[in-house]
Amino acid sequence: MVPLSYYLMLSGILFACGILGFLLKRNIITIFMSIELMLNGVNLSFVAFAAHWHALSGQVFVFFVMVVAAAEAAVGLAIIIAVYRTRETLNVDQVNLLKL
């Protein structure tokens, strides 16, 4: 049987990949996908912990997270379209009307 720590490490690596993608990528869609990757990393650790504690609830949480992520995706893509219509670009460096 694969020990718990392997799953946790993988989920940590997925989460870290998501963070790196979020910080380094310049295309809005790719940044958005990085966030989804982070959520999936979390999902993996939920499932791993559910198996560890023999608690079904951990697996149910994953479905909740997926639903929330889907809702977020719907809203997020709509916002991205709204930005593209006013700016005609998907590069975050050019979406800089407000000073950061």
Binding site: L8, F15, F22, F46, F61, F64, A78, T86, L97, L98
Partner: protein, 499 residues
């Protein structure tokens, strides 16, 4: 042992959420049947009614405290306090939007619907005692505000603000969720009481520290505390002004409610320095950056970061006085900030053209009433006596001093002095500068007049007679500590280290 069908009492304990969601749905269903004008007038009225019914339901809910839906939701004085606060904020924001939407000529159906749905999330956050439910409530309120931030669709700045809020917001919630997952891994439960008991009984695994830190990142983002505050000025500048009023008070109050529950009810390990550093950074960065702002919305954004810092000072203090001081602060900050943004949204005009500090020059002569009300809110934000802001700061700093946090109090007091400068700058601009160019100030419509009057009354009430609200907050604080104490007593661990 556990019943599988929810009882009537369960539904009463989430009645405000049900009422708000119901009115939100009514607004959404009626929206396609009405023209633009009707969508603003009729649906605004329905939304206001919904918020008021939500307020009534919150008071009714107070009659039946207890747990609901298999320990997922708890109604106690604490959650009633935040329910009333949030529904009141929503009602005032809707009153403010009434004129704003007409001036901006935006179709308003979805706008009011989303405000109500966002309110569902915010109120649920304050009564949820289960981390996954808290996450879902957080997302309900966040997703609504992502859309609302971009509601001035034709403006590039608004959609940009919405995009930034969305990307950074989901980034932060991913951290919060990871914290929840690790807390689940560390204790085998996501119920706050169960977590607290597990940590008491079995000691604190290292994983729990990481979990608390990650959850703090997510919530720190929501309350706009440094170093997770970078989004605030940009989002506040681009979003519609009434929505900024909602985000800076309603969402913030809800996030602080969650933070209070997580930090004090779980009695989270290793929270002290986390909060200390974040509070000191928020106060200092917020106030120093606010000094150089020319845009009033950006200035108030930095001021809101600074106020999040003052509030966090209460979190570092001892639980009893700390919790009640934090609750009082959220209430009085809500009163003055909603009011200030109501003035800003009225004055901004079509397409939010007049939002720079220079535009406010001579407002005292052109519209004495508007200038006078804004002055009251700004004085309260400074913390001048007989306004709510004074007692808010007073209770926070005295709670901190009682807990021996001399340095943090000192930093806070210094920052209050710095803060006075930029608030006074607006007042000086309004009363002592000649108006530049012709800016027509519209008459204050009835709806906005009511909103302003309510905010002024609340600000002065909290400044003159803070006793009742503070008593209520104190009672809630003791209730919040009770499950935690109940968890301590059976634990047989001897108090190591007290010798």
């Amino acid at each position: 042992m556990t019943q599988t069908i929810p009882q009537v009492a369960d539904y009463i304990r989430i009645l405000p959420e049900l009422v708000l969601a119901f009115f939100g749905l009514v607004v959404m269903v009626l929206d396609p049947l009405l023209d633009d004008e009707g969508s603003r007038k009729t649906l605004g009225g329905i939304a206001l009614l919904g918020a008021l019914c939500g307020l009534g339901a919150s008071l009714w809910m107070a009659q039946s405290p207890g747990l609901a839906f298999w320990n997922m939701v708890r109604v106690d004085s604490f959650s009633v306090f935040f329910h009333v606060l949030i529904t009141a904020i929503v009602a005032v924001v809707i009153l403010t939007s009434y004129e704003y939407m007409a001036v901006q000529r935006i179709r308003a159906g979805e706008y009011y619907g989303l405000i109500l749905f966002g309110a569902v999330g915010m109120t649920l956050m304050s009564s949820a005692v289960e981390l996954v439910l808290i996450f879902i409530a957080l997302e309900i309120s966040s997703i609504s505000s992502y859309v609302l931030a971009g509601f001035r669709r034709r403006e590039a700045s608004s959609s940009e603000s919405s995009l930034k809020y969305f990307l950074l917001g989901s980034f932060a919630t991913a951290f919060f969720l990871y914290g929840v997952a690790l807390m689940f891994g560390a204790t085998g439960s996501t119920n706050i009481t169960a977590i607290s008991q597990a940590l008491q009984a079995k000691g604190v695994p290292r994983l729990a520290y990481v979990a608390v830190a990650l959850m703090f990142v997510g919530l720190g983002f929501k309350v706009a505390s440094a170093p997770f505050h970078v989004w605030t000025p940009d989002v506040y500048e681009g979003a519609p002004a009434p929505i900024v009023a909602l985000m800076s008070t309603g969402s913030k109050a809800a996030a602080f409610a969650v933070l209070l529950r997580v930090m004090f009810e779980i009695n989270t390990p290793g929270r002290f320095w986390l909060i200390w550093v974040s509070a000191a950074l928020s106060m200092t960065l917020g106030n120093l950056s606010a000094l150089v702002q020319d845009n009033v919305k950006r200035l108030l954004a930095y001021s809101s970061i600074a106020h999040a810092g003052y509030l966090l000072v209460a979190f570092a203090a001892q639980p009893g006085p700390g919790i009640s001081a934090a609750m009082f602060y959220t209430a009085s900050y809500a009163a003055m900030n909603v009011g200030a943004f109501a003035v800003v949204s009225h004055f901004a005009g079509a397409e939010e053209r007049y939002v720079t500090l220079a535009d406010y020059a001579g407002l005292g002569r052109r519209s004495p009433l508007l200038a006078a009300t804004l002055t009251i809110f700004l004085l309260s934000l400074i913390g001048i006596p007989i306004t709510g802001g004074f007692f808010a700061k007073f209770y926070v700093f005295s709670a901190a001093l009682k807990s021996g946090l001399v340095w943090l109090t000192l930093i806070g007091l210094l920052n209050s002095a710095i803060g006075a400068y930029y608030y006074l700058r607006i007042i000086v601009m309004m009363y002592m500068r000649e108006p530049k160019g012709e800016i027509t100030v519209r008459r204050i419509p009835a709806s906005l007049g009511v909103a302003l009057a309510l905010s002024v009354l609340a600000t002065l009430y909290l400044g003159v007679l803070p006793g009742r609200v503070l008593d209520f907050a104190l009672r809630s604080a003791t209730q919040l500590m009770q499950p935690h104490r109940a968890a301590i007593t059976p634990a047989p661990t001897p108090p190591v280290g007290t010798m």
